[in-house]
Symmetry: C2
Subunit: 620 residues, 2 copies
């Protein structure tokens, strides 16, 4: 059982200066831009099923997933920002998608038009079940947003058809997806319909994964050393570390958490806890990025976190999905800490402030020697990619931002992230006023009346607080598991005032992380800071922080009103000209001031170089 | 025209403690071990042409090259260490190879037995011409070592057949190898036979490369962005930077240098100079390693030199081959500096002192977070690899070591690297006595009599020298282009005494190299040093050098007699236990002494962690 649930999108609302504008931009820019890209590239026309060999825009095996994620985003956006135009546009696209369903329930534009004879071939690479999963998530969101069942019913038919193909029966395939996604989608389908058979199918896919004989090896000839890339090296109940392709991995872990909640399977829960710890204690960037290498976009080994690693946007978003489920399952504060860290840093860094350019990879440093390889772009955001999972992930992620700020139980409301906004709960409207994440002063006002527990998370980064209820000092209140709680009959006008002390912290990594040795990062509140070349006297790599420096808050030119940079002292290092690639030259140090800006906002003011981790002190 | 030539292997000899033992080990261990591996894996039996589908040990497209390199190594080894047993063994293998030649001259075990209909398909990947090139090099070495023409004639027949297939004629293929090698081999075939047609064929392959329309694109459907990987993105006369797969690149540049020498083509010479500068001034590790990434084992971009990059052993050896040609072409001292740097560090690091284990990749750092990916091994040397180019490269590289220490011109003998040994030149035996590279005191004694110029290189790393001839101070002697020269009638018993001051140098990299910022490396003479965990109080990553430290020379337990380590002062850094992956904890520093050993000798005393670049000074 989930102890908490995420709020519905119409129960909560954001009104802050950091997150809310991203939601607004999603409706105005990000979704329309993704729709246009889907149109221009043929991803929408693919559903007309009129493509024939020789025509342009040949459908691709994972195109359906891209458009499905845009549809899901449109539906979620409708819930936070109702619009008849958007509703009509979505309805038209939903009809188009439904029209592509085959009589037996199958719905996949590539395998209907391009390789119909290979419907279920090579699950390891063909993304059939992945595309199905994203369509299911879109259908559930559409149902929740509109109450219309047509898309949901269509996807139930598809799921029912898939359940005839895959399963434990004698004539059924024992396979499972090369890219996980359908497992968590089937859990959502179960949530939306109450039909246990969808949960059963999710369980089948999760439980069959990695069993011996290994389906990918025996049926598809996949080499053994590739199995960890798709989390099929072991049965999931024997997996204790995060392995392989990071997005696939966290999508699988989402489903494992869902199943643990729905079935009470304590082994699955323990595995989820262990894997989550492995990620966050040994394999995660300070920004909440995961997956350290382009090579299979994968987790590598403990403490291997090079600044020029991968940290795909979709993977950070997926880590939030997984972590949110763990919050709901356990109610432990450590999960909300990581969710907040990822949300405010490595997830939002993936999208430009204007909402139409995206990082596929989120590096922690770019410099003169930044190598941009292949199809990924590390230095500048791009509007679209040939594999364009990341832009469409933001379409569906951004409308959910408010839901990450609150947790709901039967008789408890938790404020997880005190961004300005509000929540409805048991007859009360709870309003949060703050300049969070730039300021720790939080004012929570209750409108209406209701008996329930109200809990307020004290973030893990916060060492000192000051709290009052209706002006009365509450500093003696014991925190329970990281939360301040009051159970009472809330009255109209009740006010909690909470101040989270938010000094600039000098962060160091475990010494086993070689890329961070001798370096520090700046963090204030939940925000990890980055130094951009354009604000400073030199490329960030040539700067050294003065460990004695005070740090002042300072508005930043060219970033949204309210953005606070950190201004401190340091040195600029230089070597004599023309001393060559390697020399015994002695460096010179000039005093300089250093400005750092929130990592999530970097590269929004023109091309520049950047570093999160900076050298600390003149070494010599 | 080459201004200098490399000495023949019977003109020179090594008697030092650093290089000569590697040559001895090559004959006793490395070559026999490679022969055994070739036998066990089927690489030798493949030449019997009795493999049929279903049998074990299916030949592979590049197996011929491995065995060819072993044969070349056996022939070269025979020249420095004659042995009737080795000669007989080699002769038997040569007969076997010759027996595999087809009536039309073709000789390739894979394309004769496995895919005979695809002889010249997919040059981009199929390594046909690469294998042919290595067989030609082996044949030339066999001819030089034994005077027997059978293998040479066999390969001339093969080359003549290839010249019917490839060329400018109307029915000839306009292709060229995906992995360069045959170009430089054809130049050697020309040197050995005087037949201009082999030079012409080499020119055809070099000149056709990268011309438009691009053969790989039009004939083999290769994507444009892959072309730089095989140096086919531009005609070679328009290439100014080192691009793509590092081994392929340097093999191409070898042939370009050979052709520049033989044809007087100044454009090719200029390109070679520019590319060599691009490599050594922007894309080379301090150790002489090249190719910064596993991804296509390639050059990346300027200053991109991560410690966990690639630096394949074969690539360093290939850089020596290219650099040696540039030495011979130009006589400039910069080339000998890089040759020495590569030879004493990143090339010899690839092989264990015992001679039977090899690094494929030569990292500059290993630690707790070292990720070993795929088929390559970064932490420990291995006896063999599925793609086993590196072990067999050593078989043929080690016998040539003495030849890198001297350059010959008509009337000039140059001592390039003053390792103990001797050279025969115009009636004189010139003997070098030294403890080089551990000591800079060099004593050069002339035996016999001869009129010629004797030149002695003053290495680029050396800032101060002291020199005398027959006891008479020669310190006023002007260096010409980095060399001290005396033209005279050398008399029996003439003695030059030269002292190269060899302090420990603290080396820094250009600040654009992000991996090296805030770090220094230790170098003494030509040797780059590395810190191994097993000699020290902590993993190298937790150590900081004291910039005020003196450095003492110290014998090293477990390394060959005469090996000198560097002993200095520093600190061991630690963070409080259990402060997590990221924290605001304050590090502690304990004073410690630090021992560094020559990089080329690391990981010869059991598994340990290592770093070349060390943090300098306590940052705070």
């Amino acid at each position: 059982m989930f102890k908490y649930r995420s709020p519905e999108l119409d129960e909560v609302r954001l009104q802050d200066g950091f997150l809310a504008p991203r939601q607004h931009t999603n409706g105005k820019v990000t979704i329309p831009s993704a729709v246009r890209q889907c149109k221009d590239t043929g991803r929408i026309d693919a559903f007309r099923l009129q493509w024939r060999e020789g025509m342009p825009n040949k459908p691709h095996i994972f195109w359906d997933s891209d458009f499905a994620k845009v549809l899901e985003g449109m539906a979620l956006q409708l819930m936070i920002d109702p619009s008849p135009e958007l509703a009509a546009e979505l309805d038209g696209y939903v009809d188009l998608v439904i029209s592509a369903q085959q009589p037996d329930g199958f719905l996949n534009t590539y395998f209907t038009q391009v390789e119909p004879e290979k419907r279920w071939d090579r699950l390891i690479t063909n993304h059939q079940l992945y595309c199905a999963g994203h369509l299911m998530e879109a259908a559930v969101a559409h149902f929740q947003a509109t109450g219309k069942r047509k898309f949901l019913d269509c996807m139930c038919r598809y799921a029912d058809y898939i359940a005839t193909v895959f399963g434990p029966g004698p004539n059924q395939k024992k396979g499972y997806p090369g890219h996980e996604e359908i497992e968590l989608a089937l859990c959502k389908l179960y949530d939306a319909t109450g039909e246990k058979r969808y949960l059963k199918l999710a369980e089948f896919f999760v439980d069959t994964r990695g069993q011996s004989p290994n389906y990918f090896q025996t049926e598809e000839g996949v080499a053994e050393d590739y199995l960890p890339v798709v989390q099929a090296h072991l049965p999931v109940r024997e997996q204790q570390t995060a392995e392989g392709h990071a997005v696939r991995a966290v999508y699988l872990y989402c489903a494992m958490a869902d199943l643990a909640a729905h079935t009470g399977d304590t082994v699955l829960l323990t595995r989820c806890e262990e894997i989550w710890k492995n990620i966050t204690e040994k394999r995660m960037y300070l920004t909440g990025g995961i997956g350290s290498t382009l090579r299979n976009e994968r987790f590598t080994c403990d403490y291997h976190l090079p600044h020029d690693g991968y940290a795909e946007s979709c993977a950070s978003i997926g880590l939030i999905f997984f972590t949110r489920r763990m919050m709901n399952l356990t109610g432990e504060a450590c999960y909300a800490d990581v969710l907040e860290q990822t949300l405010y840093n490595g997830a939002l860094s993936g999208i430009s402030l204007q909402g139409d350019n995206f990082f596929y990879v989120n590096r922690l440093e770019t410099g003169a020697d930044t190598w941009e390889y292949g199809v990924t772009y590390a230095r500048e955001r791009r509007p679209w990619f040939s594999c364009s999972c990341c832009p469409t992930s933001f379409c569906r992620f951004l409308p959910q931002l408010a839901s990450y700020c609150w947790s709901y139980a039967q008789e408890e409301l938790r404020l997880e992230i005190p961004a300005a906004g509000q929540a409805r709960f048991r007859g009360c409207q709870v309003e949060v006023q703050s300049q969070y994440p730039y300021d720790g002063k939080i004012r929570i006002t209750f409108h209406g009346q209701g008996q329930f527990t109200f809990s307020c998370r004290v973030p893990g980064w916060c060492k000192q607080i000051c709290v009052s209820l209706n002006g009365q000092d509450q500093n003696a209140l014991q925190r329970q598991n990281g939360y301040l709680s009051w159970n009472r009959l809330w009255q109209d006008g009740d006010i909690i005032e909470l101040t989270l002390e938010m000094p600039v912290e000098i962060i160091r990594a475990d010494l086993r992380v070689s890329s961070c040795r001798g370096k520090v990062a700046l963090q204030r509140g939940p925000l990890v800071y980055a130094v951009e070349g354009l604000d400073n006297a030199a490329d960030p790599g040539a700067l050294l922080l003065n460990p004695e420096s005070d740090w002042q808050l300072e508005p930043v030119q060219g970033l949204p009103k309210g953005t606070l940079g950190l201004r401190g002292k340091g040195w600029k290092e230089s070597l004599p000209n023309a001393c060559g690639l390697y020399s015994n030259a002695t460096p010179r140090y000039e005093e300089t001031s250093i400005l750092a800006v929130p990592y999530a906002l970097w590269q929004n003011r023109g091309d520049t170089r950047m570093s999160v981790w900076l050298r600390n002190g003149k070494g010599c």
